[in-house]
């Protein structure tokens, strides 16, 4: 469904990504793990057209979307939850959610999805008229996830969605991800919480300083000695 081929990204001459290849099959959860600064966010941002690719291609359903502007990529059904919340602090919770549905015009379906988000995150409903900037960090993260869901995406890319959430909510977020797959969505998940991510992932990639070093089914990676040592904190 989504294919990334030989993706390179440079920041002012410094190579952050050096030839990434990803295949994301329809209705799968694919996870990308790696240490801080490995290039996980850069990968997602390059797919969304937020940073310039110095080389490489992104195919979506066989179509080359490498050079499309971000808004067109979003309109095609790819959405990203950016790292670090990034809610619109000056807008209300409800407005943030509505902006998530910016590219859609079916008001009934939008209202239905809004209810769905509110029932998933009742906290947001209670605070729908509050300015997003006044929400707690965890609430802002819920809002960022809810806002992405409002675009009714086919592919949802999440950059550390569980960051800063209490354990119960982390569980909640992972349950949502599983639910989304059940509903037919495709997910590319970037997580610090490698164990949890690999547990639910159909397939996983391990990124190290801009290059893929390992890939395989989630369960297989979970059992891999190198992964255990480097990312799961297992003692040798």
């Amino acid at each position: 469904m989504l294919e990334v081929m030989d993706l390179h990204v440079n920041y002012g001459g410094i190579a952050a990504l050096r030839g990434i290849n990803l295949t994301i099959k329809e209705n799968q959860i694919v996870t990308l793990i790696g240490a801080n600064g490995a290039g996980k966010s850069s990968t997602l941002r390059a797919i969304m057209g937020l940073v310039k690719k110095s080389k490489g291609q992104v195919l979506y359903k066989g179509e080359d979307i490498s050079n499309l502007p971000t808004k067109d990529i979003v309109a095609k059904g790819i959405t990203m939850v950016p790292e670090g919340r990034r809610v619109f602090a000056n807008l209300t919770v409800e407005e943030n959610l509505l902006l998530g549905a910016y590219t859609r015009s079916d008001h009934k379906a939008i209202a239905r999805d809004m209810e769905k988000v509110y029932s998933t995150f009742p906290r947001l409903k209670e605070r729908s008229w509050q300015k997003a900037g006044t929400l707690s960090g965890g609430e802002q993260q819920m809002l960022a996830v809810g806002r992405a869901l409002m675009s009714s995406p086919q592919i949802l890319m999440m950059d550390e969605p569980s960051l800063g959430l209490a354990p119960l909510l982390v569980k909640e977020v992972f349950e949502i991800i599983l639910l989304l797959r059940e509903q037919g969505n495709t997910i590319l998940l970037v997580e610090q919480n490698a164990k949890k991510a690999l547990e639910i992932a159909d397939y996983g990639y391990v990124l190290e300083t801009g290059q893929l070093v390992l890939e395989g089914p989630g369960k297989a990676l979970l059992a891999d000695a190198k992964v255990q040592e480097a990312y799961l904190g297992a003692a040798r």
């Binding site: 969304m48 937020l50 502007p69 971000t70 808004k71 979003v74 309109a75 959405t79 990203m80 950016p82 919340r85 990034r86 619109f88 602090a89 000056n90 807008l91 407005e95 509505l98 902006l99 998530g100 910016y102 590219t103 900037g133 960090g137 802002q140 806002r147 675009s151």
Partner: protein, 298 residues
């Protein structure tokens, strides 16, 4: 004439001038809110709005009232094109570069005005129904003095509705906060920026026309002073904040008229008044009356 009626007359004059400053200040503040750019050419866009309308009335068969709408619309398009030509190519450049481009655009429009329209002042053809004096309880007031605040308030209501209730207005507010995330929502950033420039220029042109009806002398440099004072109004109100720009505009307009009225000996310092207010406000509230020092949760 009693003291009260004299005061009322000054008050209406002040409100009227304040309305004009407010209309121009909105353009500065909207553009700043979205691009973090001080659009130095905004005062000259105001001038252009008056001239376009002037020529439309004199040299076409279009009735004046229709020209009062077409003129601002054309000016809006000029403002939008200005952004496309002078600012958009520099969007990723250091802020100082785009600021210099704005100063250049201002000089260009002024000199283009001198070349195309001539330096000689022209008289704005004020329609009679806007330009006669009525007496209300001993206070003689030019009709236009009433019309200006009324039109301004209607425009402000419309603008407020647009910003708070429409999808584009919402996108505009989102964009003023976070470009990248706004584009992740599927917002067409270029379109929103164009809309912003169109609206700011439109409002400035409406202000310009009413300015022309009130002080019917057109000159290519007529935008400089009102532009500068409106910019100060936007800063005084808290740049980036539309309500602040309106408040700043009224404060400056009223203050200026009252200064001249109550302390006639200071009439010569009329134009300095805005700067004094600016300095005082910035001393005590550096972010302006309604400006917020943004706090971000990290």
């Amino acid at each position: 004439m009693g003291n009260l009626s004299l005061f009322l007359q000054h008050l209406t004059n002040g409100i009227s001038l304040g309305s004009l400053y407010a209309l121009i200040a909105i353009g500065y503040t909207m553009v700043y809110g979205i691009l973090r750019l001080i659009n130095f050419a905004h005062g000259d866009i105001f001038m252009l709005g008056v001239y376009l309308t002037y020529f439309g009335i004199l040299y076409t068969a279009i009735p004046w009232w229709l020209m009062f709408i077409i003129g601002p619309a054309l000016t809006g398009v000029v403002g939008l094109l200005l952004e496309r030509v002078a600012y958009k190519p520099l969007r990723d450049s250091p802020r100082i570069t785009i600021l210099i481009s704005a100063i250049g655009a201002s000089f260009l429009l002024q000199n283009l005005g001198i070349v195309l329209f001539g330096g000689r002042p022209r008289a704005f053809p004020v329609p009679h129904i806007l330009n006669h004096v009525v007496k209300v309880r001993g206070v003689s007031i030019n009709v236009i003095t009433f019309i200006i605040p009324v039109v301004t308030i209607l425009l402000l209501i419309g603008l407020n509705y647009f910003i708070t209730k429409t999808k584009t207005g919402m996108a505009m507010r989102a964009l003023s906060r976070d470009y990248e995330t706004a584009s992740l929502m599927g917002i067409d950033i270029n379109r929103i920026i164009s809309v912003t420039f169109f609206m700011g220029s439109f409002l400035a042109a409406v202000g310009g026309i009413m300015w022309g009806a009130r002080y019917p002398q057109l000159m290519p440099l007529m935008g400089v002073m009102p532009g500068l004072k409106s910019f100060i109004a936007a800063v005084v109100g808290g740049i980036g904040n539309i309500a602040g720009a309106v408040a700043g505009g009224f404060l400056l307009g009223l203050g200026e008229i009252m200064l001249v009225a109550l302390l006639p000996r200071l009439t010569g310092y009329r134009d300095a008044f805005a700067f004094v207010v600016l300095i005082i406000i910035l001393l005590f509230k550096p972010a302006g009356l309604m400006g917020s020092t943004q706090t971000e949760k990290v």
